[in-house]
């Protein structure tokens, strides 16, 4: 009831100033949806006369709607490709907002700690490493009792930014993966079962002894699923944590357009299967809208970032934040 009243009050306040922008519409990625909806909610408290609507229809849909100019901003877990940018005549600003990570979740009786490196993970998902007691795995995990058991691979069946990040990583660490499978929001999986969403993958992993799949970090943490530590580029085994994900972002050279992959990043504490997620904004907006968007993005960098860790997202590293702040000022 209170919210309805607030909304009515907001509508009443907004009504007289017809020239003021009262709503912004956005659509896109589902992966950052929890933190985005938190932000839009909190921002609405700061600016009661502005309502930001966000439809989490998926990154693909977000890019499509952004291209067709049916929304004020888009959102995507993967940067737009050169081909896609050409379709909007280059008129897009990628604004990185937060970071997320994928973890290899596994279900193996009596094993709680598992260490993997990139080639081994690629081997498992290619089907070339088919047993848990494969020499490559045994060598990496001297303490663990790895059984003589077939590995059941579980992957996402729905197209997803999580899959993009994961296959992007595998493409970087394995030539064979890059040529045979490649990276994308949905790929031609050589082996395994498909589960729908994080919950589908984790459900299959939990139910199937000897299985391994990948889920978002926050999902694995909330559901207490065992996940492996990954060997990063510096040769150190790192278990995914929010600081480790931010460290991955700090370890890359940021290009001007922010379209960067931070999988397999340098830095000794960097977690290698991490990714940015982006808002897609037009560099030139309709009368009045640019100011509103700019204001929101400023707030997102200043106040919004602090809300991310509680929801399982890693905030931007300081250097990136400073760089984005400058870019935001160029939006018209």
């Amino acid at each position: 009831m209170k919210t309805i009243l607030t909304l009515l009050a907001a509508a009443a306040l907004a009504a007289p100033a017809a020239a003021e922008v009262a709503t912004l519409n956005g659509a896109g990625a589902t992966f950052p949806y929890p933190v985005y909806s938190k932000w839009f909610d909190e921002y609405h408290k700061v600016k009661p006369d502005l309502q930001i609507n966000y439809q989490s229809i998926g990154s693909g849909g977000g890019i499509r709607q952004f291209t067709e100019k049916t929304v004020d901003f888009g959102a995507s877990d993967g940067p737009m490709t050169d081909e896609q940018i050409a379709k909007v005549n280059g008129a897009v600003v990628h604004v990185p907002t937060v970071l997320g990570a994928d973890v290899p979740a596994f279900n193996l009786d009596g094993v709680t700690e598992l260490k993997l490196d990139g080639p081994a993970l690629a081997g498992i998902f290619l089907g070339t490493i088919a047993k848990w007691n494969d020499p490559a795995l045994v060598q990496m995990n001297p303490g663990a009792k790895l059984p003589d058991m077939a590995i059941t691979v579980v992957h996402r069946s729905d197209g997803s930014g999580t899959t993009y990040c994961f296959t992007d990583y595998l493409s970087k660490v394995s030539k064979e993966w890059e040529t045979k499978v490649g990276k994308g929001t949905a790929v031609n999986w050589p082996v395994g079962l498909g589960g729908k969403g994080n919950e589908g993958v984790s459900g299959l992993v939990k139910q199937t002894p000897g299985s391994i799949g990948y889920v978002e970090l926050i999902y694995a943490q909330q559901n207490a699923i065992a996940y492996a530590a990954m060997k990063n580029k510096a040769g150190k085994f790192v278990k995914a944590t929010i600081p480790a994900v931010t460290a991955a972002a700090a370890g890359v050279k940021m290009p001007k357009d922010y379209r960067v992959s931070i999988t397999d990043a340098k830095g000794k504490d960097a977690y290698p299967i991490s990714t940015f997620t982006w808002l897609l904004v037009y560099p030139k907006n309709a009368e009045g809208k640019g100011v509103v968007i700019k204001d929101f993005l400023r707030w997102m960098l200043k106040d919004g970032q602090g809300m991310a860790p509680a929801l399982g997202y890693a905030p931007l590293p300081a250097a990136v934040k400073a760089m984005v702040a400058k870019t935001v000022e160029t939006i018209q």
Binding site: D158, K183, G184, A186, V187, G194, K196
Partner: protein, 322 residues
């Protein structure tokens, strides 16, 4: 995705065959006629628009792959190579498994309810069956994930031990796969078949049955000689209606089928269905070729249901005119 439900045999006169020329058509009558024929026309228009839109949206795929799209098995959104066969296979086979299980069960229980059960039992059970038919499929899917899949996983090793000489019952017991999908679909369409078949069996005229009883026929003979032949086309209608639902089912299937576009003889292996791949990949299909291929899958699914409907019509037509 509706399928023809055959009416029980009636003569043209009963159906009100030709329009009875009443008193002169008044303005109101004419308006009424126009309005309702407009409604009927809208349905046709809707179907045509659907076919047109699907064809247009998938044009890129047909131009790139031609009819080969239907019988190739690679589904690679990274390199934009698409083939629909594994999905076609998964949809058709899971639906056939469902029919194989649900038709005998459904028709059997309908015979019990219509012919043998005391009216109170019959009504109570029929009510429960109709309730089952109204359960949303995502609920059935949840049940599938938490109950059916573990059960199938537990049963599969036994099946392969005793029936492993058949290629259908081999392989690793994942639980998810064609078998689980077929079972969940069977569970989903069973109430449809049972409820409609019961209704149809109840329309069999008493006089016919009593005549046969008078000749000294047993219950089984009455069911076999009178009830089933009389209700045949209605029951077939129920079966095809259910098949239509099974072919198009999305949620429950995608939750238990394993979502792997591979064709394998074993029912234990994970598979994929047409509706499931569309639901899974549409939201994140960023590339135009990928999107077009998914719409092409939609067109194929549309085509399959049209063919099934056509066959149903043909079959019922044949049965009605021996």
């Amino acid at each position: 995705m509706s399928t023809a439900v055959a009416p029980v045999r009636t003569s043209p006169a009963e159906r009100g065959g030709a329009r009875v020329p009443g008193p002169r058509e008044r303005a109101g009558d004419r308006a009424f006629r126009l309005v309702v024929s407009g409604f009927a026309g809208l349905i046709l228009l809707g179907a045509a628009a659907m076919a047109w839109q699907l064809t247009r949206g998938s044009w890129r795929t047909w131009a790139a792959f031609g009819p080969k799209f239907l019988w190739t098995s690679t589904w690679d959104p990274v390199n934009d190579v698409f083939g629909a066969l594994p999905f076609l296979y998964g949809t058709v086979v899971s639906s056939l498994i469902a029919l194989l299980i649900a038709v005998p069960l459904g028709v059997g229980s309908a015979i019990f309810l219509a012919e043998l059960a005391p009216p109170r039992v019959s009504n109570a059970v029929s009510f429960a069956i109709e309730l089952l038919a109204a359960v949303p499929s995502v609920i059935l899917g949840l049940m599938g994930v938490f109950l059916l899949v573990p059960a199938v996983r537990a049963v599969e090793p036994f099946l392969s031990r005793w029936l492993g000489f058949l290629p259908f019952f081999r392989g690793a017991p994942y639980g998810v796969g064609l078998l689980a999908a077929g079972l969940i679909l069977a569970f989903m369409i069973l109430p449809y078949i049972a409820a409609i078949a019961r209704e149809v069996l109840l329309t069999v005229p008493r006089s016919l049955k009593e005549a046969l009883y008078a000749l000294g026929a047993t219950r089984w003979e009455v069911v076999r000689e009178v009830s089933l032949p009389y209700a045949r086309s209605g029951i077939l209608g129920a079966v095809f209606l259910s098949l239509g639902r099974a072919l198009g089912e999305t949620m429950a299937v995608t939750m238990v089928i394993g979502n792997t576009p591979k064709i394998s003889a074993s029912l234990f292996d994970p598979a994929y269905s047409m509706a499931a791949v569309i639901a899974n990949e549409l939201a994140e299909a960023a590339g135009d070729a990928h999107l077009s291929a998914l719409i092409a899958i939609g067109l194929v699914l549309f085509g399959v249901t049209v063919v099934v409907n056509g066959l149903a019509r043909l079959l019922i037509y044949r049965l009605e005119r021996p």
